[in-house]
């Protein structure tokens, strides 16, 4: 408790390994997670590279106008930012946590005095940092190569912030939750990738949402990605485009509501189903 209680502590053991406060532990865990992410080639290529490559390909192929003053490119890029946020949070965690669980990494953390929340905080910090980096890269490419305009008003930037923040939070919680479905390290991506791909196709990323069959629109409306895309369109597309949305406006209140509900669902699933060990470990 106090240093005076341990007068005989040798100087050499004191410096490198003294325990930090709670915030320090979380930051340190976040730094380690980011380092692990950046050193893993698959993570960098699939998570950071995928949205960039898709933007470069699709935005170069298609550039017709889909509404007055709105090109497909702009529509697609906003969808790709939403997809990127989902990839960094939902797919990244849903694939990597089962691997770490299978390797015994989680079990090992549980055997230390580390408070459990520190591990989750580390993952969240990693997701947030990588999300910001990825969004910045996508915007840089889109603004330089594909005439996307950055938001010009403070309101638009604020909307950009809360839609992204809420979306990433919902997807992070769902990614942690779905990680418990995978029985082995390998099955993580088999569980997560199809879900993510289907959502991308039905949520208005590759195709203009209102061109999809209405049953498909209704299914998509149950999940976060459709609302993340819609929220981001309100940021990057002209205000007039709101009339072309399925609800006749960008429906930001509903965006906040659906994403908020998914945060709650994800949190409840995390708290009830999270496993530190594999099934065969009991």
């Amino acid at each position: 408790m106090t240093t005076t209680a341990k007068p005989a502590q040798p100087v050499t053991t004191a410096s490198p390994a003294r325990r930090r406060g709670a915030a320090g532990l979380a930051l340190r865990q976040g730094r380690l997670e980011i380092r692990q992410f950046l050193r893993s080639r698959e993570s960098v290529v699939f998570t950071l590279g995928f949205p960039l490559i898709m933007v470069l390909i699709f935005a170069s192929i298609f550039n017709e106008e889909i509404a007055p003053g709105v090109s497909y490119t702009q529509y697609f890029i906003t969808g790709m930012i939403a997809t990127g946020l989902m990839t960094v949070s939902f797919q990244n965690l849903g694939i990597w946590i089962p691997i770490e669980r299978d390797r015994g990494v989680l079990k090992r953390y549980r055997g230390t005095p580390m408070p459990k929340w520190v591990w989750f905080a580390g993952k969240v910090i990693m997701v947030l940092v990588i999300s910001v980096v990825m969004t910045a890269l996508l915007l840089a490419v889109s603004v330089t190569l594909f005439d996307l305009d950055l938001p010009s008003t403070t309101t638009a930037w604020l909307t950009f912030g809360w839609v992204s923040g809420l979306g990433v939070t919902a997807c992070t919680l769902c990614g942690i939750a779905i990680s418990s479905l995978a029985r082995t390290a390998r099955s993580g991506s088999a569980v997560v990738t199809p879900v993510a791909l289907v959502l991308q196709f039905i949520s208005g990323v590759f195709f203009v949402f209102t061109n999809l069959p209405s049953w498909m629109q209704q299914v998509a409306a149950l999940f976060p990605l459709k609302w993340m895309c819609q929220g981001l369109r309100s940021v990057f597309l002209p205000e007039t485009f709101g009339a072309d949305e399925p609800g006749g406006s960008f429906e930001l209140t509903r965006v906040a509501l659906v994403l908020g509900v998914w945060c709650v669902i994800g949190l409840v699933l995390c708290l009830t189903t999270f496993r530190w060990t594999t099934r065969r470990d009991g």
Partner: protein, 291 residues
């Protein structure tokens, strides 16, 4: 506020006390009413065949599994719901290695040291487990034995009072095993209480102050390795060849007298004379019901 390894306010010398421990998985009974006492400062080996309940027992003691019944105290605490400070005092080396493929040895050990209030110097710990030359190597490039050393480094970096080692040398070559044993002896000499599970008799014999033989979820005997199964008191078997050439043998509590008598009968050398006692392995196999 620990002053020493053992003088932390615990009046009794029990590191572990277990009474009537039971655990079932579905229909099968993994631990069937196990009693166990481990004293502070001793090296205790849980010896038993695969599936005897060693790992289940140890994982209950480590707080990873919930028991169905029984009383368990580890360093005076119920591991089913341990306070955080308890984790500071317990080191764990699991059966499987936890791999951090993207990190190097030093990064992992330094990171884990940061979880403990009273951690050892990570670089010294790396040196102690013999990984200094590999400190900058990514953990996935380590050999099996080196990975195990890293596991031990993570188990001891918090300077635990009690260290669990679950089958620490499975898959080691003989030389790596000897080196590993030296490391365990060092830790024991420094006062760490050590509980290790093993299915190697020689390992239990080489390291443990006391051995608990576990079979079918029960502790069938606890004794110093050289006293296991009353090995010292066991009858010796004296055998020799008769003048007709047939092999004769007799069980005796006083083999020296019998040999003297035989020597007198033969007037000197006794042809084909052997005196044997049951080996530890024979006693062990009898105990676990393989004979």
């Amino acid at each position: 506020m620990r002053v020493g390894r053992t003088l932390d306010g615990m009046s009794d010398d029990a590191a572990i006390r277990v009474r009537g421990l039971r655990k079932t998985y579905g229909e099968s009974l993994a631990v069937a009413g196990l009693d166990l006492d481990v004293h502070r400062g001793e090296v205790f080996a849980l010896l038993g065949p695969n599936g005897a309940g060693k790992t289940t027992t140890v994982e209950i003691l480590e707080g990873y599994r919930q028991r169905d019944a029984g009383e368990v105290r580890v360093l005076g605490v119920d591991p089913a719901d341990p306070p955080r400070d308890w984790r500071e005092r317990v080191g764990i080396v699991f059966q499987g290695t936890g791999e951090f493929d993207e990190l190097c040895v030093a990064e992992v050990v330094h990171h884990f040291a940061g979880f403990y209030a009273d951690a050892d110097d990570p670089d010294k710990v790396i040196e102690r487990v013999g990984l200094s030359a590999k400190a900058r190597a990514r953990t996935h490039t380590l050999s099996g034995g080196q990975k195990r050393r890293l596991d031990v480094a993570l188990g001891i970096v918090g300077r635990p009072e009690l260290l669990f080692l679950d089958e620490p040398t499975t898959g080691f070559d003989p030389e790596a095993r000897r080196e590993f044993w030296e490391l365990i002896r060092d830790l024991a000499a420094a006062g760490t209480t050590i509980v290790l599970t093993t299915h190697y008799l020689d390992e239990a014999e080489a390291l443990a102050d006391r051995v608990g033989v576990i079979a079918a979820g029960r502790l069938v005997e606890v004794a110093a390795p050289n006293r296991l199964g009353n090995r010292q008191e066991a009858l010796a078997t004296v055998s020799w060849r008769t003048p007709e050439g047939t092999l004769e043998s007799a069980q005796s509590a006083t083999p020296t007298a019998l040999v003297a008598e035989l020597a007198a009968r033969f007037g000197g050398e006794v042809p084909g004379l052997t005196v044997t006692r049951p080996t530890l392995e024979e006693i062990y196999l009898t105990m676990i019901g393989h004979r």
